[in-house]
């Protein structure tokens, strides 16, 4: 099985440099001569790539690898979540019932919608439609910002209710009424706190990614307006899109896992 690709050394290998350099190819590969095979190369080609195709594929691959690392990173938190939810089912139920499902749903909608606009932006870049590219980017940015604002409201609410571990945790001192309910389930406050620790870690890290995303989208809008993504140089937008969609996907999981533990009861409250 090994033989066919296992090259037998030829005796003069030592003196003739291997691998041999074919004269014919020299002109074709003179350094620093950007050229595409077949199709004309467009957009800025970095010196160390041979052609546009190679550059494109490299960038896409690189971005996907990066998304992989992001997935693994959040994975650690999802693991902690799974473990503690398994350990303290009722506490998580209790904690989750403090969240505002309506706002959560709105945010989910907003983020999914921003994914759509971002996808369309990428498409516009692809078909060199600068006007709409800019518009969709702006729309995406607005939606992203909206998401963060809503999240901000949720967090401040939690803060004032005293549901922020490590910074402001007094909810159960102020709502002695809630204590019987805890006792009913024999929950200790601390395990509810654990829920909120996980909640803030996950949403916090996610929000951090959103902020980075917003900065990039803003910057790209500016560049797009200056027409930097015309002439076949649409890939940066595509790459940005990938990042944006990943953030969206993470939220897709956060929403049911964090907000809906206690179930969704439009007729008021988890209880």
């Amino acid at each position: 099985m090994v033989s066919e690709t296992q090259n037998t050394p030829d005796p003069n290998a030592a003196s003739v440099p291997a691998p041999a350099v074919e004269a014919a190819s020299l002109t074709a590969h003179a350094p620093d001569a950007p050229h595409g095979d077949g199709h004309e190369s467009h957009g800025p080609l970095h010196h160390h790539f041979d052609d546009m195709e190679q550059q494109r594929e490299s960038n896409t691959l690189g971005m996907w690898l990066f998304l992989g690392t992001e997935a693994m990173m959040f994975g650690g938190l999802f693991l902690a979540y799974s473990l503690y939810r398994w350990m303290y089912p009722w506490a998580f139920h209790e904690g989750s019932s403090h969240l505002n499902i309506t706002l959560g749903t709105i945010n989910t909608f907003v983020l999914l919608f921003s994914s759509l606009t971002m996808a369309l932006a990428v498409r516009c870049a692809g078909i060199k439609d600068r006007k709409w590219l800019v518009r969709f980017l702006i729309l995406t940015w607005i939606l992203g910002a909206a998401f963060l604002i809503v999240k901000g409201f949720e967090w401040t609410a939690d803060y004032h209710e005293g549901l922020v571990p490590g910074m402001n945790w007094f909810y159960y001192n102020e709502h002695p009424a809630a204590l019987p309910r805890l006792a009913e389930h024999g929950i200790s406050q601390q395990n509810v706190m654990m829920y909120f620790v996980v909640y803030f870690c996950m949403t916090g890290l996610h929000a951090a990614h959103m902020i980075v995303g917003l900065a990039l989208v803003g910057w790209f809008t500016f560049l797009a307006a200056k027409g930097r993504f015309g002439g076949g140089n649409d890939q940066p937008v595509e790459i940005l899109g990938l990042y944006w969609h990943l953030i969206d996907i993470i939220w897709i999981f956060l929403f049911p896992l964090l907000y809906l533990i206690a179930g969704f009861h439009p007729g008021g409250g988890g209880h």
Binding site: Q6, R85, W86, P89, H93, E184
Partner: protein
């Protein structure tokens, strides 16, 4: 080369002999390979040094057969070692029923050891010869590790959970006791000695030296002081299980999940070992005695590990009750429970009632000091490992379910 006498470490426990066999066994097996590699490298290097006049013609570039050989042979070797060590590992898991319970609490940077009779000592462990000992250990602060080289045993000790290990000392003498898990500034000072003495001497030793009221007595004090008796006492108004005789016996419990109402949670059986009682006190919500409302408050911040150990000792000393209680705990009650009985108490008949009663019946004889099922040597699941129901009964209960 390890076998040179000065390097041989004393074998002072039953386990030590078997351990050394394994250790030197592995050393021998791997040693063979090490020698083969070393010899091969040296020989080949000398033989084919540049300038040596040797036949270098048509040298092979690959050889499927040889590759298979040096894949398969090591494979066999490692599998052999794996089976050997794993069998030894599991054969050491269960301690004999007559094991003597000793409690160990680690704090930065000392070991506090309590004998059931109430004799307590610091950084020293005195034990009778040829008597299986079971250590139930926990930590007040960080992770420590209880290490007795002469016994070839080590067990990490975690805050907030129990780990246990057991051994049978086979040789009188005094041996090193180390803390093996880095635990801060004075880690290397967290050392002591283990003294193995003939039973007679041990009895004499017990009766001397620093005494405390026996652990059980202290536990009883706490039991009243912290209001346990207010609910668990026979005369209590609150409906809570009587705890007489709960220790070491199977109990019917419900394991709540998420928002599923308690009545809908099928009951299952666990053994009320140290871990179970420890968790019942610190995390009452985890396992609810079947048929009771989960109104017991947690004592997480009020009782420290040492006190809990004392309470457990007390509960253990209570022995069996004659079933005048409503105790969801006490064996004879639950085991004789008919479906109607059960419904009357719990308000529903669990799907797996037969299994429960079967388990309870099977285990009720094991009403001695030794928990029917608890785990010496290796890892005892701590508080982080709620006793989910047996795979055979309602498997649904396991996992991150609601």
């Amino acid at each position: 080369m390890f076998n040179l006498i000065p390097f041989l470490l004393e074998e002072a426990s039953e386990n030590a002999g078997r351990y050394d066999a394994l250790f030197f066994g592995i050393t021998a097996i791997t040693g063979v390979f090490a020698v083969i590699v070393a010899v091969a490298i040296i020989a080949l290097t000398l033989r084919y040094r540049r300038g040596q006049k040797v036949d270098r013609s048509n040298a092979p570039l690959y050889g499927l057969t040889i590759e298979i050989i040096w894949t398969a042979v090591p494979l066999v070797a490692v599998m052999g070692m794996f089976v050997w060590s794993t069998t030894l590992f599991f054969s050491n898991k269960k301690e004999p029923a007559n094991a003597l319970q000793v409690y160990v609490v680690g704090k930065q940077w000392m070991w506090k050891i309590q004998h059931p009779e109430g004799r307590w000592e610091m950084n020293e462990l005195h034990i009778p010869l040829n008597q299986p000992i079971k250590l139930t250990m926990t930590s007040e602060d960080v992770i420590h590790s209880f290490f007795i080289p002469a016994f070839r045993l080590k067990q990490d000790v975690f805050p907030g959970q129990y780990s246990t290990m057991w051994f049978k000392p086979t040789k009188a003498g005094t041996y090193n006791l180390f803390c093996a898990e880095f635990c801060g500034t004075n880690h290397s000072g967290m050392v002591g000695t283990v003294t193995v003495m003939p039973p007679a001497d041990y009895q004499r030793w017990l009766s001397t030296g620093t005494y405390q009221p026996s652990i059980a007595a202290q536990g009883e004090k706490l039991f009243r002081q912290f209001g346990c008796s207010g609910c668990h006492g026979a005369a209590a108004s609150v409906r809570a299980p009587l705890l007489d005789g709960i220790y070491g016996n199977p109990v019917a419990v419900q394991i709540p999940r998420g928002d599923v109402p308690l009545e809908r949670v099928p009951a299952t059986t666990l053994t009320a070992d140290d871990r179970y009682i420890h968790d019942s006190i610190l995390l009452p919500e985890r396992e609810i005695a079947a048929g009771f409302k989960p109104i017991m408050p947690t004592y997480k911040d009020r009782l420290n590990e040492e006190q809990i150990l004392q309470i457990i000792a007390y509960l253990k000393s209570l022995g069996r009750s004659n079933g005048t209680s409503n105790g969801g705990a006490s064996t004879d009650k639950t085991s004789e429970m008919s479906p109607s009985d059960y419904k009357a108490r719990v308000g529903f008949t669990p799907a797996n009632l037969p299994t429960i009663t079967k388990n309870l019946k099977r285990n009720s004889p094991a009403a001695n000091n030794a928990p029917a099922a608890s785990l010496p040597g290796g890892g005892t699941p701590g508080k982080v490992t709620p006793n989910r129901n047996t795979p055979t009964t309602t498997p649904g209960n396991r996992g991150t379910n609601r």
